[in-house]
């Protein structure tokens, strides 16, 4: 015990939730201490998640586009991949971003402690440094932002360098000839896309009946169709029965309708079957924080836990486990601590799968509306009718709006297609602003762009899109009517 310090707000975990909370609390004039095991803030997002994977996905896209340039009569030689340089440049991106955050903490005079914190009681933290030294920190409030980690394949656990989780996959030690991706969720599909573009023969197994379970089927279909020729196989309703070390690889037996009974050999297996919250090992038993059966921290609208001195944000509080959700929660928690009347109550949290094409959605989707018995009016705009998509030779996309049938208020937006991740922001804005289809349809979008598809979809609600003809079921009522 070297010294004892005090802080108004301690934040455990320097990911996108933690540092956003720290910066917000700092802006609100609170004394802030940010604690993380890394040298600089960043968390999974910057070190082992969003940012490195997007760097690789960018590279994958270059490779794919170079190959597909043949359509326009442009031929490139097969590219040579310098793995060392690739890793280096990815690491540079990560270092630049995390270093920048560290710098921001300094210039904001946020105290940053590198170490592992746990609760001695609700208002006392014990922090262990790398060198084993401990310090104690008295707090008024603590924001818990320790995030999540990949869920392992528990029963089939195999101690082997050929078994990877998302963290290991982003190390990219080599390009395996054969790669099995277990889990057809967004992480598995993104990393599978990267390895496939690099030249791996990728097999994807998903135990549900669809890729991206949870997303609307029409959006998933766009991606599925494009993935099929791109990867070796996609096996749905399939799970892993056994994995064994074999000569020069892993012998994997799959079970399911489409699976053969004999084991198949893979150089590596990537397991992406979800993430679990890092809610143990933080000393929560010394506080009044309560957890769900799944280990998630129970919080209220202000992200306050059952312990009035402790807030929790980000992956710890549950799905969607996304960086931007964590950041927003972090801001809310900081505002609440500063005494503001605030609440985490977004109408829409965008979800983006950065595959090729990307799939993105926000707000109420058809699947959810159906499950909850909510009546909606849906309009779909196929990108085959988009000039911009044609010039990109990417006509497979789809944009759709989910609206209230009475008011035409936009409740949800779904986009599958190249650039969907950038396009969805307009949809989020529309949902958050309570915009109606008329509002969006009468917002001039630049031509020719993929963003136009959102405007045209809005027009379709009234049967008026310029580039799609549909028989008109009912005459259009005066817009803006009461």
């Amino acid at each position: 015990m070297t010294e004892q310090a005090r802080t108004r707000v301690a934040i455990i975990g320097g990911g996108p939730g933690g540092y956003a909370a720290a910066f917000m609390a700092n802006d609100l004039g609170l004394d802030v201490t940010l604690i993380d095991v890394e040298k600089n803030p960043g968390g999974v997002c910057l070190y082992r998640g969003c940012i490195p994977s997007k760097a690789f996905l960018h590279v994958a896209r270059i490779l794919t586009e170079a190959r597909e340039a043949a359509y326009w009569g442009i031929a490139f030689d097969e590219p040579k991949v310098d793995l060392n340089r690739l890793r280096e440049s990815k690491d540079e991106v990560v270092k630049r971003m995390t270093g920048g955050l560290g710098q921001l903490c300094k210039s904001r005079k946020i105290k940053y402690i590198q170490g592992r914190a746990s609760f001695e009681d609700s208002r006392t933290l014990s922090i262990i440094h790398d060198d084993g030294a401990t310090e104690r920190l008295e707090t008024d409030y603590t924001i818990l932002a320790t995030g999540s980690r990949p869920t392992p394949l528990s029963e089939l656990f195999l101690e082997s360098p050929r078994m990877m989780d998302s963290t290991a996959a982003l190390q990219m030690e080599d390009i395996p000839r054969n790669l099995l991706v277990v889990g057809g969720g967004y992480i598995g599909l993104e990393l599978g896309t990267v390895y496939a573009a690099m030249g791996s023969k990728v097999t994807i197994v998903e135990k549900e009946s669809t890729l991206l379970p949870g997303a609307d089927p029409d959006l998933v279909e766009v991606l599925h169709k494009r993935l099929e020729p791109f990867v070796e196989r996609i096996l749905l309703n399939t799970s892993v029965a056994s994995i064994k070390e074999a000569r020069g690889g892993l012998a994997v037996t799959l079970e399911g309708k489409e699976a053969e009974n004999k084991p198949a050999q893979f150089d590596r297996v990537l397991v992406c079957i979800g993430r679990r919250p890092n809610s143990s090992g933080v000393g929560l038993k010394n506080t009044r924080v309560s957890l769900t059966d799944g280990g998630l921290v129970e919080v209220d609208a202000q992200r306050r836990t059952k312990d009035p001195y402790i807030y929790a944000i980000g992956d710890l509080t549950g799905e969607p486990m996304l960086a931007h959700k964590a950041s927003h929660e972090g801001r809310v928690a900081a505002e609440s601590i500063a005494g503001q009347r605030t609440a985490f109550e977004p109408n829409a949290i965008p979800a983006v799968v950065f595959t090729d094409p990307e799939v993105a959605w926000c707000g109420l989707m058809e699947k959810e509306a159906e499950a909850k018995g909510i009546e909606v009016k849906v309009a779909r705009f196929p990108w085959a009718a988009s000039g911009r998509a044609a010039t990109l030779n990417r006509p497979e996309g789809l944009t759709k709006l989910i609206t209230d049938p009475d008011t035409e208020q936009i409740l949800g937006v779904g986009i599958a297609g190249t650039g969907a991740g950038e396009l969805i922001s307009e949809g989020v804005l529309a949902v958050e602003m309570g915009a109606t289809a008329y509002d969006v349809g009468f917002t001039i979008h630049p031509h020719p762009t993929l963003g136009e598809t959102i405007m045209e979809t809005a027009d379709l609600i009234f049967g008026h899109a310029a580039h799609v003809h549909q028989s008109r079921p009912e005459p259009r009522e005066a817009a803006g009517k009461e």
């Binding site: 009347r341 109420l364 208020q409 958050e432 602003m433 009461e482």
Partner: protein, 472 residues
């Protein structure tokens, strides 16, 4: 063809009331001016006379129900208008009558029961009210308007779904985050706010005007003692059995008035009066007053003294008009006397106490208090007070802090007199009857020194009644 008898206008202030008794049944013949309903309004129970004559066909009014001027009380045949002024029934277009007849036959069964003594009915009503009480405030605010006319009300009970205001929206409200935040910050539930924009879109202005409306309703008269939306009650049944009972109109009005009064900064000044001599006088002349038809009480004597005190200290007989930066002095001296009744606190007013003798005041006070307890007070008898007296001495207590009966600016509380040893100038202690007084005043209008002077003046006059003649 059946005509409707609708609740007629009963006085300027009466818009609605709760039916405490229905005095006629189907088949009865009624004549003009015959009482047909007993209606409890804000502070009085009134008998509602018929303005028509004929035979009652069907009763549309039920005990316990709130009824507004213009609502149908019963359907009748034959006869005609008792006086030409109430043309409403006759003017009703035939089509509307048809419609109402249909309604009547639809729900007729239920309503055939003569309501008065049916316990079942009252229980239903109470449940209904309890249900209403659980509804969010916005909807209740619209209550007087939304309270369905009798026929519809019976149907409501059947299908339960007919509440007037729009149902709470589900799903995202058509309001941008900035407006939702504003609502949260000022304690308004965005789901309750009606949007003025296209498709019900909610603007910042909508939120503000809704908040203003809610505040007015809560602070002002519209809706009774209802909590502002930010105060949410816990589920009391978690800790044991509970029972919900509807606020009577007197209790509701008291709650409203007290909430309004509480917004004034008030001071309570205490004093004690030696009433040993006064008590002797009271006993000596008690018989004489009784012969005149009254009872000589300390309250009556104090009311008399107040007539002089209010003249001497006119600011105690004023009201504050903040909107115009004015103080309104009243040149009449009407003292309200708080009366405890089984329905709650009523304050009948004794007029022009400065011109009346103590005997006159005693007689009047006896009568008015009795009428208050019998629910026979007219509204007029409870209006126009300029100052209030509240005597809790009959029950006990050494002192209390009354709350000013706004828009008056002061109130005098009287606690129980007791015999105390009082130090005399010659060094002895003497048993004296001491009466505790508590004067609460609105400090915006009255300063502390004046408060002390006022209560001291009242005390002096009670100790030395002759002063009354010197001063008056």
């Amino acid at each position: 063809m059946a005509n409707e008898f609708k609740l007629p206008t009963l006085g300027e202030d009466v818009q609605s009331g709760t039916i405490t008794k229905v005095l006629v049944s189907p088949g009865d013949s009624v004549s003009a001016d015959q009482p047909v309903l007993e209606l409890e309004t804000d502070k009085a129970v009134l008998e509602v006379p018929s303005t028509v004559s004929g035979t009652v066909e069907e009763i549309r009014a039920q005990e316990g129900q709130t009824i507004s001027v213009g609502d149908t009380v019963f359907l009748y045949t034959g006869g005609g208008e008792g006086d030409g002024g109430k043309a409403a029934a006759a003017a009703a277009p035939a089509a509307q009558e048809e419609e109402q007849k249909e309604e009547a036959s639809a729900s007729g069964q239920k309503e055939q029961q003569p309501a008065p003594s049916s316990k079942e009915e009252t229980k239903d009503e109470a449940k209904e009210d309890a249900k209403q009480a659980k509804e969010p405030p916005a909807r209740k605010d619209a209550r007087s308007k939304a309270e369905a006319p009798p026929a519809a009300s019976a149907q409501d009970k059947d299908n339960g779904s007919e509440r007037k205001a729009a149902p709470r929206r589900s799903g995202p409200v058509p309001a941008p985050p900035s407006v939702r935040r504003l609502a949260r910050e000022i304690g308004v539930d965005i789901h309750e706010v009606p949007g003025s924009g296209p498709q019900g879109r909610i603007s910042a202005e909508d939120v503000k005007s809704y908040a203003r409306q809610v505040n007015t309703d809560v602070r002002g008269m519209g809706s009774a003692g209802r909590a502002a939306p930010l105060i949410s009650l816990p589920d009391f049944s978690r800790w044991g059995d509970t029972e919900r009972s509807t606020l009577g109109s007197v209790r509701r009005r008291t709650a409203e008035n007290m909430s309004v009064a509480w917004t004034a900064p008030m001071v309570t000044q205490f004093d004690k009066v030696d009433v040993t001599e006064l008590e002797k006088l009271r006993k000596r002349y008690g018989k004489q007053v009784e012969a005149a038809g009254g009872k000589l009480t300390v309250t009556a004597m104090i009311v008399k003294v107040l007539g002089a005190a209010l003249k001497k200290f006119p600011q105690f007989n004023s009201s504050l008009d903040m909107d115009n930066d004015e103080l309104i002095y009243k040149r009449y001296y009407n003292v309200g006397v708080a009366v405890d009744t089984d329905r709650g606190l009523l304050v009948p007013v004794l007029r022009d106490v400065d011109t009346k003798s103590i005997t006159e005041i005693c007689v009047e006070l006896s009568g008015i208090a009795a009428r208050a307890r019998e629910r026979k007070l007219s509204l007029e008898e409870m209006q126009g007070g300029t100052f209030t007296v509240s005597n809790l001495g009959g029950i006990g207590g050494t002192g209390f802090t009354p709350i000013v009966n706004a828009p008056e600016v002061a109130i005098l509380g009287i606690a129980r007199a007791s015999v105390e040893p009082v130090y005399q100038e010659d060094g002895r202690f003497e048993p004296r009857t001491m009466l505790p007084l508590a004067l609460t005043y609105d400090h915006r209008v009255i300063d502390g020194a004046d408060g002390a002077r006022f209560v001291r003046f009242v005390a002096d006059v009670l100790e030395q009644p002759f002063l009354l003649f010197l001063e008056a």
